[in-house]
Symmetry: C2
């Protein structure tokens, strides 16, 4: 696990990482346009690696390249949220079912349980950022245990797309108490090998999240984030 291998990283990779950060942090606002040359200058590199990074991020659904308009940070509308949560609901609960069928031991599930206890502690302390981080780990680990790398890749990509929206709603929503119970329920179901329960609990979990988020966005008239 100590393969630091800190090789200098290519400019394209740096550009991808930095642009992602700028998007997630909101420094590049949703809907805003940015010329390739401006981005290149601000990142201290030429247009070529910025363009390649933009192409990659476009395929991940974070950006849109509009010739002569600049690179546009894609906003997320309530309808986008619906689409994304529909996919997350179906694929993650499938992964939960598969994980339950796989017969994992306590060791395999250590990371998953850790994410849950972290969430519980964060919730007690009302540290929402820490909760969100652990929640992200829970879902990533769940799909990993599902044993389908494509599902994992899709889920991670879609989670990136709604990251900003989640961050802004984090302080608007009620404390995710129910959410935590559901996580625990999914975990227990996988542990005892109950595939149907794992699927159904997780399915309900994501449906609740979707409903709550979309209502929140519409109540606050947030047509895009």
């Amino acid at each position: 696990m100590t393969d630091q291998a800190d090789k200098p990283l290519t400019s394209t990779q740096r550009a991808i990482n930095e642009l992602r950060q700028l998007i997630f942090s909101g420094e590049l606002a949703a809907g805003s346009d940015h010329l390739e040359s401006e981005l290149a200058e601000s990142l201290g590199m030429s247009r070529t690696p910025v363009r390649e990074a933009a192409l990659t991020l476009e395929s991940q659904g974070l950006l849109e390249l509009r010739p002569r308009k600049g690179v546009r940070v894609l906003p997320v509308s309530p309808d986008d949220m619906r689409e994304i949560y529909e996919v997350l609901t179906e694929l993650e609960s499938y992964a939960a079912r598969q994980a339950a069928s796989a017969g994992y031991g306590a060791k395999d599930m250590a990371a998953l349980e850790r994410a849950i206890t972290d969430m519980e502690h964060a919730l007690d302390a009302e540290e929402l950022e820490a909760w969100a981080e652990a929640d992200g780990r829970f879902h990533a680990e769940l799909v990993r245990l599902g044993g389908n790398s494509r599902i994992a890749a899709i889920v991670n990509m879609l989670n990136d797309q709604v990251r900003r929206a989640r961050a802004t709603t984090l302080y608007m929503r009620p404390l995710p108490l129910r959410s935590n119970e559901e996580h625990r329920g999914v975990f227990e179901a996988i542990k005892r090998g109950d595939a149907t329960a794992a699927h159904d609990i997780h399915h309900a979990h994501r449906r609740h999240a979707k409903k709550m988020l979309i209502e929140l966005l519409e109540r606050h008239r947030l047509r895009s984030l």
Copy 2:
């Protein structure tokens, strides 16, 4: 519908289209390596657009860029088939359910029905290529009716990934008679608004296809295609 708009198309777009064709046709064999400069020369353009195209196709799961080894056409293993069909099964049957709930009229479903009758005719005439083409249309149209653009995009991408494998197995497998019945069943269920039936029939349909294909690959010792 007559917006030909035959604008000259950028070199990058040409490269994407042509490389896709070369991959699907097998002219660029699975697992084969190709230098960027070779591809550029054979396409009559410089490395830049080829690189951009390769980056795009890499994000679609068709290629892999391995520095100094060349651009590699990704082979599809039986396990890849399992993963891909698992995703297709879940997302398409969700789309079928949604399509059934949407209350479409005959007009909305014309393209779907057309794909089915085309498959039936192709099957009678034992024209497998034509059958495969219409089958592709059926699945693309189904997810379109599902009303979730992300599902449509994912499904189309994954179908591209297994296109070569499907083409090679097309003549090894029994005539897809059952398949046609299932298509018809899904169509009827959507038409009468029976969401559960639409979901379940399509789910079974894809599970059958997955099972048949994987068994076929393993029986013929096709470890990658």
